[in-house]
Symmetry: C2
Subunit: 378 residues, 2 copies
Amino acid sequence: MIGGAALQSEQVPAGERAARMAWARLVEPKDAEAVSLISRVGAEEALFSLDPGSKLGRRLAPRLEVLDVRRDLHVAAKLGARVLVPGDDEWPTGLDDLATRPFCLWVRGPLHLREACERSASVVGARAATHYGTRQSSEIAAGLAERRFTVVSGAAYGIDGAAHRGALAAEGATVVFTAGGVDRPYPRGHDDLFARIVAAGLVVSEVPPGCAPTSWRFLSRNRLIATVSQGTVVVEAGLRSGSLNTAKTALDHHRLVGAVPGSVESAVSAGCHQWIREGRATLVTDAAEVAELVGPMGELAPTKRGQQRPDDDLEPRQRLVLAALPVRRAVTTADVAKACAQVPADVLGALAVMQVRGLVTRDEEGRWRKVTAARSTG
Amino acid sequence: MIGGAALQSEQVPAGERAARMAWARLVEPKDAEAVSLISRVGAEEALFSLDPGSKLGRRLAPRLEVLDVRRDLHVAAKLGARVLVPGDDEWPTGLDDLATRPFCLWVRGPLHLREACERSASVVGARAATHYGTRQSSEIAAGLAERRFTVVSGAAYGIDGAAHRGALAAEGATVVFTAGGVDRPYPRGHDDLFARIVAAGLVVSEVPPGCAPTSWRFLSRNRLIATVSQGTVVVEAGLRSGSLNTAKTALDHHRLVGAVPGSVESAVSAGCHQWIREGRATLVTDAAEVAELVGPMGELAPTKRGQQRPDDDLEPRQRLVLAALPVRRAVTTADVAKACAQVPADVLGALAVMQVRGLVTRDEEGRWRKVTAARSTG
């Protein structure tokens, strides 16, 4: 458990952390120019050497005027949020696969973010989900939690919210990546859900406290959900769902993608079906299959089997003989032999084996009778 | 249209045809010994040279006693059934891929069997189907019929019956392979369906008239459904469904297999999901996708797309600028530039493009306003 300290233990110099917090205020997520400059000269130097006359300088001028990192540190402390930067022990290393990784992350909640994500799956999908979809989302999330996977999602209505709830119900770990600041739960109808996750899981954002969740930030946030975990499951998604954007980012970064099938008559399963058809997603029907997909090698889901039947592994001749027995009448070995065009000796052998297996009985006159009803097949 | 003549035009000698009809009476389908003997010496010679003291001879003795091919010819003529053997123009060549192809086929109905099967798909599945399953089976079969595919199935309750009905409703071609004789519709509840198919399609069997549909004959019949067409679609199937046996035979003979997804909570979709998961079946959601799967190359299903939106293919910067516009208020270019941390010139360029596309409007004072609601993403 990590307390409410605003900053991590100092694996990273304070100046670097403050500079990254400043960049998160100055530009929007995925700002290619800022990312590139920082990767070349470092966050502090990029800030100090900023030429006010350059294009980047002019872009940032209005926000520079109101920049106040000291106040941001204070706000984070008040929220009980910590600010993570690359190099911190708690920094989730999956994000380092991104060309535009976040400048920093605001984090609220008692879990260790990197450790929580080391064995995690993202569960995403439509906001306009069906009852079937939300039920499956909760079921799968709960099953993942029982298998010690952290459930990552975006806390939206529909599939996302159901995933977090399923994980919480199973007393498992769950992490929200939110598109606005960690002090601005979105949607507001999920205020209580956010509160529960701040208390038991983690709420994470790459934009500073106070920031509104804009559509740009939603799209940007999706790349974090896609890469922080080992794989993404799409529970329900229309053909144009934003969750397919998340799935695509996961795939582009060599994460595994699963999709839950549903009715072909449901528009919110159409995206899942399309991805399965095209071989981009693996069809998954339960948490065990998701765990097999995203977990370490060898974590295999049990193969689903129907109920075993006594006539399961009969030899072809035995099956032929069994098929020749009438349903109700008792018959002689010769009758059976005639009915299936086999010699009596072979028929007797087959009947003896099936007698041992309880499929046929023989009466005192040596006549045979079927025990189970014929297994009809269609 | 082929009339009710009992025999085909004589591409095949009468003796060969009669001998094959005799073999169909003497042994059960897939009798390996008989098949092997016939393939070595021919059907007539196999019959004439049969040693009554050999094992095969002793096996057949009871049935030889009651063999009467002349009567069988008479029965076929009375039924308006014709008897096909390999070499006949109407013989469906797909069956020649079988190691144990039928000795002959009894056929009732006005279509040309080989031609009907040249562009065909088998539609199979559970007898204990759901409403969803039977609806999809009918829909897919009707869609295949509209695309000039013959729908092949087994006329069982559930998926099979619905497939035939869908094809008939679309005035398409449909072929039943039945497990008993062509004069013994099974199940009896489908008497009317058989009558409609005898009138408009084809009812086919490899066992002679009068034969009961035993479980052995069901299993044997499945291999005909699997190989006579170019591919098999499983609409609903439990994990132990006989229709997976059909699908397996199709796959073993290099036919294409499709499966329709459904609720993961439905036991009769579990077999379909397992086959899709394991890569043995392609997920299909409608007739167009089945046609793409089993039809000639290039017969592609239209790619499913969601509704087009005006903000569909915005550049990242345009998307960033659009996200920075408030939902209700009108704002200046400078306001927007500040909100998204871009220089005003770039923002103006992006806004101008989006104005042309109807995404933003500008009022008389030069202020910008969003036209559509922000596309929220989750």
